[in-house]
């Protein structure tokens, strides 16, 4: 283990590199990459690494980048790519293909506002495009967590009971371009943590076409399998956390990260770095005697519904902060967790930091001031953070 000063982008690429090398005795590693701000640095870092039995293929578009990963994974290789925003939107068709073909591609996504008009800053709306398409999604809050989650994503994606793509999301710039210390493990530890990639349905020696026509009942069967694997991934992840701790001597955060939530009357629910800010707010308000706690949803797909439901139980008010908006509805996370609260709990949707606004503690305090007098949830409310 050694402490390295790395941006989250570089951290993701370094984790992928270690994972790539860990498969050197297996069917190797392959990554299709195409640059887009703010994920470019991840791709650049990866391109500079020497990977035994590995190849980073620079292609002409995000769509092709994922196509490379699909081809490589279909041949049994460990695969990784990274993208952002409209690049992800362009890649989407192949992301869905990778998911439905049950290929364990790991993706680092630097969340960025979809345009036009163009905006390069953070917004979760891009990765949420793929919410329903059979890809696992993590949202991280700091550099170490991002690094560890990428490593863990390979293990989770390639687990025989899971076998599907994993997206590890970080807010563009706020996380992707922030440099901080990352505790980087030795290659031997990574080798120990990650078994060789084994994709049971990989192409053998006989070439054949993938994804031919299927009939309604076959679709139903495949969706059922995919859904069951998704739901099972929560438990698989729990097992991986233990294994991760055994090898690296530190614990991965839970699928939902609770902070001073046990006795809280009011909960602040969010994803990504806003969760870290929410924890600071909790500390400030606790000092004033307010019973506030925070819950950060780290694993968004599959959504750990039981875990969230348990944390929600008995709370009076819940503020759900989304750095995204489902137009015509409200916050996406809010929509997800709304039904998990007790009847009578006020679950209010707040939208903040859209387009990359800096969501500061005072903004969240404002939301709580708005929430406190409410006896029932109102329309989704927006906080403009510049």
């Amino acid at each position: 283990m050694s402490l390295k000063l790395l941006s989250a982008n570089h951290g993701a690429a370094l984790a992928a590199t270690l994972a790539a090398r860990a498969n050197r005795a297996g069917r190797g590693f392959c990554s299709g990459v195409y640059p887009i701000t703010p994920s470019t640095e991840c791709m650049e870092y990866l391109c500079l690494q020497e990977i035994e039995k590995g190849r980073v293929v620079k292609v002409e578009s995000e769509h092709s980048a994922m196509a490379v990963c699909i081809g490589a994974a279909s041949a049994g290789a460990r695969t990784f790519t990274t993208t952002s925003s409209n690049g992800l939107a362009y890649m989407a068709e192949n992301c869905i293909a990778a998911a439905l073909l049950r290929l364990p591609v790991v993706m680092a996504v630097a969340n960025r506002t979809l345009g036009p008009p163009w905006n390069i800053w953070a917004d979760h709306g891009d990765s949420l495009l793929l919410r329903d398409q059979g890809l696992i999604q993590f949202y991280c809050a700091d550099n170490q967590e991002l690094f560890d989650t990428v490593l863990c994503a390979f293990r989770l994606a390639e687990d025989q009971a899971v076998m599907m793509p994993v997206m590890v999301c970080m807010e563009g710039f706020i996380l992707s371009h922030t440099t901080a210390q990352i505790d980087v493990p030795e290659q031997a530890q990574v080798d120990e943590f990650l078994p060789l990639t084994s994709i049971p349905h990989r192409l053998g020696d006989t070439p054949h076409a993938l994804g031919q026509v299927e009939l309604p009942h076959q679709v139903e069967m495949h969706r059922h399998q995919h859904l069951a694997a998704m739901n099972g991934a929560i438990d698989v992840y729990a097992g991986i956390r233990d294994e991760f701790e055994r090898v690296f001597d530190r614990r991965l955060p839970d699928a939902v990260v609770a902070y001073r939530a046990e006795d809280a009357e009011t909960l602040i629910v969010s994803m990504g770095t806003i969760g870290a800010t929410a924890e600071r707010v909790v500390d400030r308000l606790r000092e004033q005697g307010q019973k506030v706690g925070a819950l950060r949803v780290r694993l968004f797909r599959p959504l750990p519904m039981e875990g969230i439901r348990a944390w929600f139980a008995g709370k009076q008010r819940i503020a759900v902060i989304d750095r995204d908006v489902s137009l015509g509805f409200g916050g996406v996370l809010w929509g997800e967790v709304n039904a998990l609260a007790d009847p009578g709990t006020v679950v209010q949707s707040y939208l903040a930091g859209l387009g990359g606004g800096d969501v500061r503690p005072e903004h969240i305090e404002n939301m709580l001031s708005d929430l406190l007098p409410r006896t029932s949830a109102g329309l989704p409310a927006m906080m403009e953070a510049a």
Partner: protein, 760 residues
């Protein structure tokens, strides 16, 4: 320097660091502010702190004001916000200093400035801060960091920061090594030694309230459906640029090439936009003889035309003719507050041009002409098939309509000159060239050998009958005119003998083409050395000529050899040029700088056209006449001489060809050669319409084509009454409008300090 023990760190306060510590770096895109913040982070990690560092990213455009942040703490840093209340402030570019930079600082904060000024310059300023000043730019430049135009100072200033912080050079070295920047360490050490530090008296600091307090905004929480206001963009991206575009007229190559000084681009564009009368308005400012030049000008403008490098030069000469033939623009007598009297000696193109300009300015002008009519070489030299008398007459009438007086059949001598000096405010002499040059050779005086100019004059006055074989000697326009006129006068064959090659012939290329087209045969690299015949010429003896070393004009000097041949002929016309012919001036006068002098006294007798310059074309003569007329007026009014610098012409490489469609030039209608030889009817009937004007690129002058507006990625260009307006508050200075301007009518300029500040 590293071993210099006198360079002790300034004792502060690493122990007193109030944690978490927040550092904010202000710089411009390209200055390396983010790397600077990373280096700071790296420095603190050497001391066992937790760090976090990030930039406040914009468009990553060079020059844009940027911020970068570093947080330092003893424990894991969970704060994900930008730094609003920095403890340490590092400013890489002093020009950025202002309330925005100082925002959020509290008394006692550290402020490190990259500046050329010394500490004394800040007396009374930033009293609340612990101030460090260092000329990191000079140091980095000395150490060769960055390029000569963009010096990178982010590593250098770190040395100064380390000194302020009380950190040893050793820690700095490790931090640099960790980012692979060890090469810049010497500059940082230099800054470590050079930084000037002013401590802050804690009492003073706390007494003075910070003028830069930061108030967190407290935006209301509103239902999504109530966000109705379209908030204006607060990001003034205009502050990102150090360069800005502007509309700027550049010189068109045709304009610079025109010997007459015509605004070629102007009249062509006016023709396209507003028709022949508008174009004539532009043209007639400088051009008294558009009907003439539209027919006989060698058109240097067309040789300079940038369109030539694309799909063929614009047919400018014929557009001028179109304007002259189709405009009804009339000029009347002009007036002036101080009318003067001028005499112009000589009614050729230079004299006409001088008289025209003087009359346009409202002065009284009399032209004294030795011949029976105005026009000079236009009247008696240029054949009617090139310049019909009616066309010349139209131009002459326009000049006369200005009130120009004429005295015809007047030959001026010494005495007249002296007398006229008293009668007129100034005389302008435009007598053209002197007698035609002769050829030395046996038999030159034989019958059948005649000066070409005399022949052309006779041919213009009445029908001249020729028979048999005609040989013309010479390679200029007069020679070509003689050859083509001889054909029309009945010659059975016409040969043109010239001592050099075709490419060296001074005649207008199209005229040579026309002559050959009509049947004139060129006999090149031959020099007549003798004429033979029995009383009248029957043959020329031609010597072969070899090209020798280049002369001053760059042409190969003809070297006459001993190898000769005979060329049988019945008539020979000599067209070898004319002498200067100024021997009729008083002997005590000298001509200097286009003016007559008697000893050291400058006389108000001026010279224009071929008699002064010998440039030899109508267009040059027009230009010379106009310039001398204006110079005379300026001199008489004691106006200072102004020579506006037109700048260099827009080059083909500065034209965006890709914005133009390929459109071949519109050609003139020409008579077929079978008809031409039988008459003096004008061969060239000019253009069928004025559409050719649409091919003009309008090099260097905006045509309001909207390309800039369309290509501006920021949408900050709008149409205005005078053309376009650029919203400087938001223009990022990307230069795309300038790069895309099809005609080089825009340019980038360095913003002044004031302009930069206005955008902040």
């Amino acid at each position: 320097m590293k071993n210099d023990t006198s360079l002790e760190p300034v004792p502060t306060s690493l122990e007193d660091l109030s944690l978490p510590l927040e550092v904010r770096v202000h710089g411009r895109g390209g200055q390396g502010g983010v790397t600077c913040a990373k280096l700071i982070a790296s420095l603190y990690t050497r001391m066992g702190f937790h760090v976090q560092t990030f930039g406040d990213y914009g468009s990553e455009r060079s020059g844009a004001p940027i911020q970068a942040f570093t947080r330092v703490d003893r424990q894991t840093i969970a704060n994900r916000n930008k730094v609003y209340q920095p403890d340490h402030l590092i400013v890489l570019d002093e020009a950025l200093m202002g309330p925005q930079v100082l925002s959020g600082t509290t008394p006692g904060a550290l402020l490190l400035l990259n500046t050329r000024s010394t500490l004394e310059a800040y007396a009374g300023q930033y009293a609340n801060y612990r101030l460090g000043v260092v000329d990191a730019t000079a140091i980095a430049r000395e150490h060769g960091i960055g390029s000569s135009s963009v010096v990178i100072i982010n590593t250098t200033i770190l040395g100064a920061y380390a000194r302020l912080l009380g950190v040893s050079l050793g820690a700095l070295e490790e931090a640099f090594a960790s980012l692979g920047l060890g090469g810049d360490l010497a500059a940082a050490e230099h800054a470590y030694a050079q930084v000037q530090i002013r401590t802050c008296d804690p009492a003073d600091a706390h007494a003075a309230a910070p003028a830069t307090a930061w108030q967190p905004d407290s935006a209301p929480v509103t239902p999504l459906t109530e966000h109705r206001a379209d908030s204006p963009a607060t990001l003034k991206t205009g502050s990102w640029s150090t360069q800005a575009p502007r509309y700027r007229e550049h010189a068109a190559p045709c304009n610079l090439a025109c010997p007459a000084g015509n605004d070629v681009r102007g009249f062509v564009q006016a023709l396209q936009d507003d028709g022949a009368d508008a174009a004539a308005n532009v043209l007639l400012r400088t051009q008294p003889l558009p009907s003439v030049c539209g027919r006989v000008c060698p058109a240097p403008c067309m040789q300079a035309c940038n369109r030539d490098a694309f799909d063929g030069a614009v047919n400018i000469r014929s557009l001028e003719r179109w304007i002259a033939d189709h405009s009804t623009q009339a000029l009347g007598k002009q007036t002036t507050a101080r009318p003067r009297r001028f005499a112009v000696v000589g009614g050729g193109p230079a004299g006409l041009s001088a008289a025209y300009q003087l009359a346009l300015h409202g002065h009284a002008v009399t032209i004294l002409e030795a011949g029976p009519a105005l026009g000079g070489v236009l009247r008696n030299g240029i054949p009617a098939y090139r310049l019909p008398p009616e066309a010349l007459q139209r131009d002459l009438q326009r000049i006369l309509d200005l009130g120009v007086e004429t005295c015809l059949n007047v030959r001026i001598g010494h005495a007249d000159l002296r007398r006229m000096r008293a009668e007129y405010d100034a005389l302008i002499v435009c007598t053209g060239l002197g007698p035609a040059l002769r050829l030395e050779g046996e038999g030159i005086d034989m019958a059948g050998v005649e000066q070409g100019l005399d022949f052309l004059d006779r041919a213009k006055q009445g029908k001249v009958e020729l028979r048999g074989r005609v040989v013309v000697v010479g390679g200029g326009n007069t020679a070509i005119d003689c050859a083509r006129t001889a054909l029309r006068c009945g010659a059975n064959s016409v040969k043109l003998v010239y001592r050099r090659g075709r490419e060296d012939m001074p005649a207008i290329a199209e005229e040579i083409d026309s002559a050959e087209f009509e049947g004139v045969r060129l006999v090149l690299n031959r020099q007549p050395v003798a004429f033979s015949g029995n009383g009248s010429v029957s043959a020329l003896v031609l010597a072969e000529v070899e090209p020798g070393a280049p002369d001053e004009s760059g042409r190969r000097r003809p070297m006459v050899t001993q190898r000769t041949s005979h060329l049988e002929c019945d008539t020979v016309f000599l067209a070898l040029g004319q002498s200067a012919g100024m021997e009729w001036l008083p002997g005590t006068w000298q001509v200097r700088d286009g003016r007559a002098w008697e000893g050291s006294q400058a006389l108000d007798v001026w010279f224009a056209g071929d008699c002064a310059t010998g440039e030899g074309t109508v267009t040059h003569a027009i230009g010379s006449g106009r310039r001398i007329a204006l110079a005379v007026l300026g001199r008489l009014d004691n106006a200072p001489e102004t020579q506006p610098d037109a700048g260099s012409a827009v080059a083909p490489g500065q034209i965006r060809f890709s914005h133009f469609d390929v459109v071949p030039p519109h050609r003139d209608k020409e008579l077929p050669p079978s008809v031409r030889r039988d008459s003096f009817e004008e061969c060239n009937h000019g253009l069928a319409g004025p559409e050719e004007a649409g091919r003009c690129f309008s090099c260097g002058q905006c045509t309001h084509c909207d390309t800039c507006l369309i290509y501006c990625p920021e949408g900050v260009i709008t149409r205005s009454e005078s053309g376009y307006q650029i919203d400087t508050s938001y223009c990022k200075g990307c230069g795309m409008c300038v790069a895309e301007c099809p005609r080089s009518a825009m340019e980038m300029h360095e913003k002044t300090k004031l302009e930069v500040r206005q955008c902040l």
